[in-house]
């Protein structure tokens, strides 16, 4: 399956007015490899739509975006990356959702002198010793939202958490991240199978554990299954999770079972800043659905790229890199800057799942960590 989008034409007169600022420096060809089919397609589609919305709003004619579907398979992602670098000759790459795919593509792409802007995956290997001058993460380091959840749990006075994640690297990072900031005892620690859909056995363990809270990291369909089964089990120990199980695409499938659950996120649709208000409104107008955190990350990634294009030519790698590092763009998250390892320093919020009319969504109820950098920055010698 091949989707190829050329964004060169069709710019409205209104957009031309703002375009006057953005001209001057040369064209940039962007290669976006993301997941558009198969199980995790919702995430890739949101990143793509957020990214393309920002490009469209800027009216910048100098950006050409080539989009390809990795089907969530590392081998396909590698083939696509080779093709984009060798035959499409892209300048900047972006789009990958999953950490295992990012690990397969990013190190070789940056070694070949390409810029890589990550709109989602933030494996610890690329934040610490494996950091690269040409790699910028616009979302978070993988551990960040879990660390924030640990901090929130300690602050909320939770003393006996039951923690659970799938048995794969990001799942282990998740529980380590939570434990890094959580000060209480553990009532239990369980690794589930990746892709597991039935959680009856784990729920029985939770019931028997005497925990005062349950922290779980189960992205995508796994989280939906868990929450529905948890709600039907009669266990009423409060749940805490990272935003991945509570994004806009998933909440509608979970329904009432998610109401009241606390989750941590670097973005929320009710974040009070001008950029975000406009983003939420325009995203809804363009795609007829509410944006998710993935969409906000795609949108921020594109705006970061556009901000660098205004300052430098992509052919002048040093100047372009410096321009990216400045992060001189209006983020949907408000304050945003890069640390020494080119990962974000940002606030992470606690949200609660609520119902607005017929739609399930999130509301910010507090800040878990302010100006939070990641735990691996000190290992990066840039």
């Amino acid at each position: 399956m091949k989707i190829k989008t050329l964004l060169l034409a069709a710019v409205s007169a209104a957009a031309l007015a703002s375009n006057a600022i953005a001209e001057g420096h040369g064209k940039v060809k962007v290669g976006m490899i993301t997941t558009l089919s198969g199980g995790g397609a919702g995430l890739g589609i949101d990143v793509r739509d957020g990214f393309m919305l920002a490009i469209k709003e800027s009216g910048n004619e100098n950006v050409e975006v080539v989009i390809e579907d990795d089907q969530r398979k590392p081998d396909i992602a590698v083939q696509l990356a080779d093709k984009m670098i060798q035959s499409e000759k892209v300048d900047v790459m972006t789009g990958i959702i999953w950490s295992n795919l990012a690990m397969a593509v990013v190190p070789s792409a940056v070694a070949q002198g390409k810029f890589y802007l990550s709109p989602n995956a933030g494996p610890s290997a690329l934040a610490g010793k494996g950091c690269s001058p040409n790699y910028f993460n616009v979302a978070w380091q993988n551990d960040n939202l879990h660390e924030a959840a640990g901090a929130y749990a300690s602050e909320a006075g939770l003393k006996n958490s039951f923690i659970m994640a799938p048995n794969y690297p990001a799942g282990q990072d998740a529980l380590n991240g939570y434990k890094r900031f959580y000060k209480g005892e553990l009532a239990g620690e369980v690794f589930t199978k990746l892709g597991q859909t039935d959680y009856a056995a784990e729920i029985a363990q939770i019931r028997a554990s005497g925990a005062d809270s349950v922290y779980f990291f189960l992205p995508g369909g796994m989280g939906i299954s868990f929450m529905k089964q948890y709600a039907g089990s009669g266990v009423d120990i409060p749940l805490v999770g990272p935003a991945f199980s509570f994004d806009q695409g998933i909440l509608q499938a979970v329904g009432d079972a998610a109401l009241g659950v606390k989750n941590t996120s670097q973005w929320s649709k009710d974040l009070d800043n001008e950029t975000n208000a406009a983003f939420v409104k325009n995203f809804q107008a363009e795609y007829d659905r509410l944006p998710s955190l993935y969409a906000s990350q795609g949108f921020d990634t594109a705006n970061l790229l556009l901000s660098a294009m205004e300052k430098a030519d992509v052919k002048d790698a040093d100047a372009f890199r410096a321009a990216l590092k400045e992060a001189d763009f209006k983020s949907t998250r408000g304050d945003f800057s890069f640390g020494n390892n080119h990962h974000p320093i940002q606030d992470i919020y606690v949200r609660e799942v609520i119902k607005e009319g017929d739609v399930y969504t999130n509301k910010i109820i507090g800040t878990a960590l302010e100006d939070h950098a990641d735990a691996f920055a000190s290992e990066c010698d840039m």
Partner: protein
């Protein structure tokens, strides 16, 4: 670990096994009677779940949703049998695998095109949403008990259908010698379509039942398909009794392995490495079971040589 917890986990294992049986029964019938490896069986499971979610969303009735899942999967099953599968009976297994794998891709992308990439909502009906207290003070989900009973009813129904009815007699005859029953004047192609639709309907029903407590999304069928293949290999290919016993064995092994193995390793290891090692071994447990069964019974528990 308390007795109550162990009984609860055994019930969970039974429920998982019963759900696998609904998938495996169709798969083993189709393989036993027609000699066809049908990878698209997981897609029929997905069709059932999506049909149920769509009908539940528009009518609000869970019973109608279940009926829709049976009907939709049976109809889709009959259509693919008539259009595609029929041409594969005389081909070798590799061709069958390739063609039915193509069907998986076609079904997944068509479903995405019709329903979008985001998971659909399908909830447990109000009446079954709580728990019931069983003797001994075990609070157990009433919906899961309902799944166990549906599975038992289907198992009994299939047993009666195959051993007591005329269609069942033909199915058994078809398994033994398909040329001969053709020669005796039985319309074999109609029989095949019927069996295929029956297997599809069971997969669809299982998709709808499970969809209510899991997530209804594109690609939901493939992980279950792999487990269903493990079940029919353990039970003996073509045997409904084998599918039932294999499914219960797999369900219990998987569930109890997940709970017991981490506890077992915690006796002589540090907690977090014990959970990690235990759960890694637990995810292998059913394959180890399969290997063990095949060593002692190469044709499966109830398979014929």
């Amino acid at each position: 670990m308390s007795t109550v917890l162990i009984i609860e986990q055994i019930l969970n294992g039974l429920q998982f096994g019963v759900m696998l049986f609904l998938m495996a029964a169709g798969l083993t019938l189709i393989f036993g009677v027609m000699g066809l490896i049908n990878l698209a069986h997981g897609s029929l499971y997905m069709v059932g779940a999506f049909a149920a979610a769509a009908v539940a969303a528009s009518t609000g009735s869970f019973l109608l949703a279940l009926a829709a899942s049976l009907a939709a999967a049976a109809i889709v099953g009959a259509i693919i049998e008539l259009v595609v599968i029929r041409r594969l009976y005389d081909r070798d297994h590799l061709d069958q695998v390739l063609a039915t794998f193509a069907l998986i891709l076609i079904f997944s992308e068509t479903t995405r095109w019709l329903f979008g990439s985001f998971p659909l909502f399908l909830d447990v009906p109000e009446a079954l949403s709580g728990t019931v207290t069983l003797p001994g003070g075990i609070a157990y989900s009433s919906y899961r008990l309902m799944i166990i009973s549906v599975g038992i009813i289907v198992a009994v129904g299939l047993f009666l259908l195959i051993s007591k009815t005329r269609i069942g007699m033909r199915i058994r005859a078809g398994e033994n010698d398909r040329e001969m029953i053709g020669a005796l004047g039985v319309d074999i192609s109609k029989l095949y379509t019927l069996i295929f639709a029956l297997g599809a309907a069971l997969a669809g029903l299982s998709g709808a039942l499970v969809g209510a407590i899991q997530s209804v999304q594109v690609g939901m069928g493939e992980p279950v398909l792999i487990l269903a293949f493990v079940v029919i290999v353990i039970g003996g290919i073509g045997s409904i009794k084998g599918a039932l016993v294999g499914a219960i064995l797999v369900g219990l092994t998987d569930t109890l392995g997940r709970v017991m193995l981490p506890l077992f390793f915690a006796n002589f290891m540090e907690q977090s490495s014990a959970t990690s090692v235990g759960s890694s071994l637990a995810s292998m447990s059913i394959y180890i079971l399969m290997a063990a069964v095949l060593i002692f019974k190469p044709t499966g528990l109830f398979g014929r040589a």
